[in-house]
Symmetry: C2
Subunit: 115 residues, 2 copies
């Protein structure tokens, strides 16, 4: 279940902006802010079943985008590669200025991915 939540939270991170405002709000409450179905239902003045349906529908839309664009998949592969670069430059002499410069650029790439 924890894995499922992480997966949807990541999909939401990449494709959330493609959902409707209402879908975004409800998925954000559930997956990012950890509210329960009951709490969200109360917040929106709808039934728990309605919240459940919107979550399921939203997840399906997000998975549909991932199926086509594979952004989460690519991001994960890229992140692995960037970590390999960081591991390699650990092998440099401690006072090698290139070490700090490359580390800095890799961190900038990670930031770009998170904007």
């Amino acid at each position: 279940m924890e894995k499922k939540i992480q997966r949807v939270a990541m999909l939401y991170d990449f494709y959330g902006k493609l959902l409707t405002r209402k879908q975004q709000e409800i998925l954000s409450y559930y997956y990012e802010h950890d509210l329960s179905l009951g709490e969200i239902a109360e917040e929106f003045g709808v039934s728990r079943q309605a919240v459940h349906d919107i979550l399921k529908r939203g997840e399906k839309i997000l998975e549909g985008y991932e199926e086509k664009l594979q952004l989460v998949n690519k991001f994960t592969s890229e992140r692995d590669k960037l970590n390999q670069v960081l591991a390699l430059i650990e092998g440099f002499e401690e006072n090698d200025p290139l070490k700090e410069q490359i580390r800095e650029i890799v961190n900038q790439i990670v930031q770009i991915q998170h904007e």
Copy 2:
């Protein structure tokens, strides 16, 4: 005009899979295979105006996705950073095995982005 074509071709590269099959085919003919409006119209048995309208509509959809997801923008920034890494490792000793290893990983990242 050349710039406009490059721009739409890049948007198509990132978001084309989110278009309908027909939009994909027509945009691909025009932006990737460089066919004229007249040639595409003949191929599909429709008017040049219809082809023109589908192209405009498709471009607008692609720009809409970019406005929300910024994939082209992020890709361009990331590519700049990766090139900076490549430029920095040029400063290594020629026989430094780390140079080749880092270059290889950077190339793998570029490949992931193009998958």
